[in-house]
Point group: none
Chain length 243, copies 4
């Protein structure tokens, strides 16, 4: 391993160290109350050092989203490539597991991602980081859509474009997580999340099956609802689309 590589690796290790500290501090205090000094202390570094690795507070915060999106992508690829997922039920179950793992990997994920909504925040991000987030988001939704597409194609029918189903799946997941997190934060109650999620996905799965049985081929009208003709191009990003 050359010196250059070692340096690069060391640098990456330090970035991770900061992000781990940041995640902890943001989780406890929220974006506003968490100060850069808090994070520096948690990472056992000086405040100035943070700025060697992240342009500003917003960029540090947003970088946490990259981590989680990368993990989500990996998990979704596994689901897609796993040949043991044959039926629609198996696939939805696998999706649910993937999402659940992602949630366990970083429960603050969605809170993080919805913070990106603020256009003030976006202005502070470097073009590179923003591009990465967009790309990863688009990729994630694309993978989910492909999983559902196969199934629906198999049935020779589709009432809704797969990407819409993917969108809804993601929404259900987001909503439940947010909702339950919200309850947990205030009450310190816990543990209902998984069961509620189970039920929701079961209901969703039954809805999908029902759609299958209808075998009604309607005009697709995808453009009406904003998705491209072909799933493989113009897949809307989860949260972020290109202009």
């Amino acid at each position: 391993m050359g010196i250059r590589e070692r340096k690069q690796r060391e640098r990456e290790r330090r970035r991770q160290q900061i992000m781990i500290a940041a995640k902890r501090v943001f989780s406890v205090k929220g974006y506003n109350k968490a100060t850069m000094e808090d994070i520096a202390k948690e990472a056992e570094l000086s405040p100035g050092t943070l700025y060697l690795y992240f342009k500003n507070k917003d960029e540090l915060f947003s970088s946490l989203s990259i981590r989680i999106l990368q993990y989500l992508n990996i998990r979704l690829e596994h689901v897609l490539n796993d040949k043991s997922n044959q039926t629609i039920e198996q696939k939805i179950e696998a999706l649910k597991d993937a999402m659940w793992d992602v949630y366990k990997f970083d429960p603050m994920m969605l809170i993080n991602m919805f913070h990106l909504q603020s256009s003030e925040t976006i202005k502070n991000l470097s073009p590179q980081l923003l591009a990465d987030i967009k790309s990863l988001s688009r990729s994630s939704l694309n993978l989910m859509a492909r999983l559902l597409e196969e199934e629906i194609d198999k049935g020779d029918l589709a009432e809704v474009p797969p990407v819409v189903l993917a969108d809804i799946l993601w929404s259900i997941f987001s909503g439940i997580v947010l909702w339950e997190e919200s309850k947990r934060m205030i009450n310190e109650d816990k543990g209902y999340l998984e069961k509620t999620l189970d039920t929701a996905f079961e209901i969703f799965g039954r809805g999908i099956q029902k759609l299958h049985q209808l075998k009604t081929v309607k005009e697709r009208g995808e453009n009406d609802i904003g998705y491209g003709e072909n799933v493989n191009d113009a897949i809307p990003a989860p949260g972020i689309q290109e202009k």
Copy 2:
């Protein structure tokens, strides 16, 4: 009308004036970037005056949640009392319409409500305001649950407690709104929200029907998943539960 009442009414009018201004400013700038002076200017008042009506910035912000919860409650009561909603499909459709109206009443609602998650924020709220939010939240979920309960009781069966269904419905709604808002904010895309919502609720409704048809009576096990024995007490609040 006595002087005292007139004063009281005048005071309430002024509160509303401030909240309307606050909603506008928070919607545009987000919680952090919106300053009390911005809000004062929008309300054509001085900063000091805001503090005669709201203890602090957090409390002003949170008061907006009260407004939206009150509106949600009113709409849900109408749905419950409307005798023309007979079938499960009609009821779910009516619920969806109610949620849609609530969304149109104040699209920032959910963003607002999830801001309450921060325990730092909660510490700043007056006990009265916190109690009101809890009470209204609990009431809303209660109403939704009762609507579904009737239907399920009618079918002599229930796989899941109604309150879980209510929870899920709310989550789906929250998730889709957040998700689509998120896309809209970045891309200025718009208009897909309603269609996606339509599809999601249709899928959800089919799932519910399917559950009916199963006619499988399981042990209820409500306590296992955290809801009270009786729907009328211990209904979990949307977002807030009592300890």
Copy 3:
């Protein structure tokens, strides 16, 4: 006097209070080492208050130039209107006195004005302030040029455009002040300034007279050296010209 006027006057008084404190602090510590907190303390105000009256540190600093330019303008107008200034010697003497008074009014003047050279500084200024500085600078040089113009016109000749003479006069003054200030600051020597200035203006005056005697009318070629055809328009600002 209405309330509005009183407020306005009070506000102006406070601005002056801050500027006086700023001048003192900048003189002692220089631009870099002077902190906003130093100035606030000197003005017996809090740091935040300074920002109610000046957008930022650069703008506060630059505002000091406005004061001195206003004073210079007033003094130059008096010189121009004073009918007892008949000969070229009297006029140059009067100019020298005016400059001397301006120097006594604020010895930091030129240091202040040359700080404006930094384009980084200019970017921080409000358009209004920048426009004021430009306008006052242009006006000052215009007045000086008119004084010399009259004299040269009387002699029916001019080797150099009056505005160039004005430019040079101003430069001599600037140079000597800076030079002597520079010596004084390091050595605590003092008092030579006036005498050196006397001699310089005397030499300059003799040069002017000599020019008169030449009675050589050359092509003016003003545009070659960057001044407008007519003294009354396009007079170059002392330090700042419009594009």
Copy 4:
């Protein structure tokens, strides 16, 4: 050449490399906005290395003055030794050329030198550097004075001590350069400097001649105006005198 010498030479080369980079960066960004890292990058060195050659930022900055003063001295010596400069006109013309060359050698010169005014800056300089600056400054003014002195002595008269004339010459030059730099920086105008300088020195020269013609022998009174009894000692340094 021994190893020791080679090292010494290498060290000097590195110093020059840094100073050239520093000049470039300071010219573009000004003292405040120029960071040590900027300079290090321009010199293709690391920040730490700069501190092996210069005690601190102020000392690096001030070292640039040494360079320019050395060059000024060399040019002035040439003027003094050039036997083709016979008349006062020729001498003043030669001085002007020298100053012009110095200006072209480093247009930031004067800005640099006036930065030394800040007593805070001086405290940061090493005694050696400070002594060098003082010595070179004194020498420069001394050379100018001797040039004028010869001429005036030749005329058997002098209304003003030569050193005062030298002071004024330098001031005129400084003032014009600063003034024109100031205009240029803001307006991107350029090229008027030389012509204005021409005119100014012409006026100055005529003034000097006029002084000659007066042939009035006054008591010298040098001490009154702060210069030493003998021109050759105690010549005030340009900008810096010894206590």
